[in-house]
Symmetry: C2
Subunit: 369 residues, 2 copies
């Protein structure tokens, strides 16, 4: 494939106008045209969403392969070339069954954007449960964890203050699975200990955690003080635009990862839905539990990318970091997320308003508008 | 005067080993010795404390000139060459009377480190009163404010969410007096409005204000998002060392001003004291109200300087910013706070542990150990 007249945006080398060529599934040619400023399309690394519970009526905990395909196709139209279906807290057997659906799906496809599964829970703080079902939040049980860690598991969110966390961290990391801290009422010291033992990632910061205080730094203080990378839900509701801008100023473009945290109600009409065994009311595009607690989100990834650009006032180069590269790096994937020779051709072609026009996965067009 | 073999620390040009000469009250000669690393003493700009209610048994609201002299001498031994006695909330007549004591004191002295008075209140938030006496916190009354603004008033702390604040801000600033925001329950918008109208200063951040939340940025969010300069009480109690380090990382060395917020009990034995009409219990060096609320501080300025260096892990150049220049600049004083030719010779000579060995005010030694 060949993309002429594009503004190519690499998160490391920056932006340039020119051409990009791919052969098979790899980027093989980069041609910069110095001084040229006009272009037809923007070419960015394909978007990555590591925290999404569902969309278009599909939910991670209840989907089969066919439903997952429907979801995947929907995300192609959003420019997403890598994502992790994400579970809510549930019983080991239910989350294991979701992990098996994902495992079998990946096995049977030669081309897919499904990278694996993200377990958000069930080993979380009851006090910081957010929209997680309190009846399904569990104490750490090492044997149980071990049994649920099948090959499709890429990411697990846990609360570091729980009893047995250190052993759980060691177990998870030894298996090559990335640990993320979230839904937590930890102290600064709990967070720091997890950081020092190799966990450098935060789930939907700063939602579901205790806030900063000058006499107890807590979770937010630890996240701001230590070089954690943070997921942020970019709907302007979970975090105000001004908060996003503030965190962008503090953490910088290399430590933020856009996620959607969407649920099955995304891209669906207002009405009642289900999330981890709890009723969700979608009204005016805003999903809540019956008691009014914000429950996940319904924005689409390309909208999240546009929001971030507006909230943070960032460059396209920085946008390529927060929408793709940082997330990939957080789970150890190094072969994509760049527009540079030798990298995998996972790309998204956008118009000047960052509307998705074409999505390329592994060198093949999977969406075109 | 001539200081040989010193490590001179200028907040702009940085550190150098060499000699510094003064004539009359001005720095006239700077001689750097390139490559030389050994020195006998550290020479820094004299320390500045813009927020201190008292020390050695002296309290701003009740002192006479003789008591103020005792306080001033105590601060010379701390390396302080400029300070503002600071009132607590009180009636207009009581604070005005304190301002007159300060005015007459300055008039009658040819050499003094007393720069004027800082009114902390009485136009503050009842909800964020801290150790201010709630019975003496008042609504904004422009006529009353006007009557209390005599020539010795240099700084006023007010809460920006109060009715009439905008007019009060205009009134204060037109008189050339600096406004500082503190003891406030303001919204982000209140803070931003005050900033945009020329108030760029925060009183003892983040004590006495609402904290950061991702869906209401509030005072702390505004302070971190906008380029406010912040007083910080450097006792390790009002803000944890880790919080100081975090804020140093976020705001940088140009936006932090060390203050002590000391009360009359400073450098006094444990016992009972008074602050703005309320009983203070000093126990193990920690002052509280009878209900346990932290009430101001009892650390000494040179200790605060050492604390900051340790908490923030900063350079001496940065230490010279936060202990002197930033505070001076915040109230519009430009002729001192530097070790550079032509600047006023307000200096402090320190040993390698930052112990005060000599204090020079306007070219004259006022303390020597």
């Amino acid at each position: 494939m060949r993309f002429d007249n594009v503004l190519a945006v690499d998160p490391i080398d920056g932006e340039f106008v020119g051409s990009v060529e791919t052969e098979e599934n790899v980027i093989t040619g980069i041609r910069r045209i110095p001084g040229k400023r006009e272009f037809e399309r923007i070419l960015m690394p394909g978007f990555v969403d590591l925290h999404t519970h569902g969309s278009v009526g599909v939910d991670t905990l209840s989907m089969n392969g066919e439903a997952l395909k429907k979801w995947e196709n929907f995300l192609y139209a959003q420019g997403v070339t890598y994502f992790l279906p994400t579970t809510m807290s549930s019983t080991p057997s239910v989350i294991l069954s979701a992990a098996r659906v994902v495992r079998d799906y990946i096995k049977n496809k030669t081309l897919t954007s499904v990278g694996g599964i993200h377990y958000e829970g069930p080993y979380l703080s009851l006090k910081r449960k957010g929209a997680q079902n309190p009846e399904l939040i569990r104490s750490i049980d090492l044997k149980e964890i071990e049994e649920t860690l099948i090959e499709s598991v890429k990411l697990i969110t846990m609360a570091p203050e729980l009893e047995g966390f250190s052993q759980a961290q060691e177990l998870v990391q030894k298996r090559g699975i990335t640990l993320s801290l979230g839904h937590t009422d930890a102290t600064y010291e709990d967070m720091e200990r997890a950081y020092n033992h190799g966990c450098h990632r935060i789930t939907h910061f700063p939602n579901g955690m205790n806030t900063l205080h000058h006499r107890e730094l807590g979770c937010v203080g630890a996240v701001l003080s230590l070089p954690f990378s943070v997921e942020m839900i970019m709907d302007g509701i979970h975090s105000l635009p001004g908060f996003v801008k503030l965190i962008f100023g503090i953490k910088g473009p290399k430590k933020i990862m856009i996620v959607t945290d969407t649920i099955d109600a995304t891209a669906m009409p207002d009405g009642e839905y289900e999330l981890g065994g709890q009723k969700i009311i979608l009204k005016n595009g805003r999903p809540t539990l019956e008691d009014g607690t914000i429950a996940a989100a319904v924005l689409v990834f390309s909208g999240a990318v546009r929001n971030f650009r507006e909230f943070a006032g960032c460059s396209l180069k920085e946008l390529a970091m927060v929408s793709s590269l940082n997330s990939l790096n957080s789970i150890g994937i190094k072969d994509r997320g760049r527009i540079s020779e030798g990298y995998r051709a996972d790309l998204v072609l956008l118009d000047e308003n960052l509307g998705v026009r074409e999505t390329i996965l592994n060198g093949k067009t999977v969406f075109q508008s």
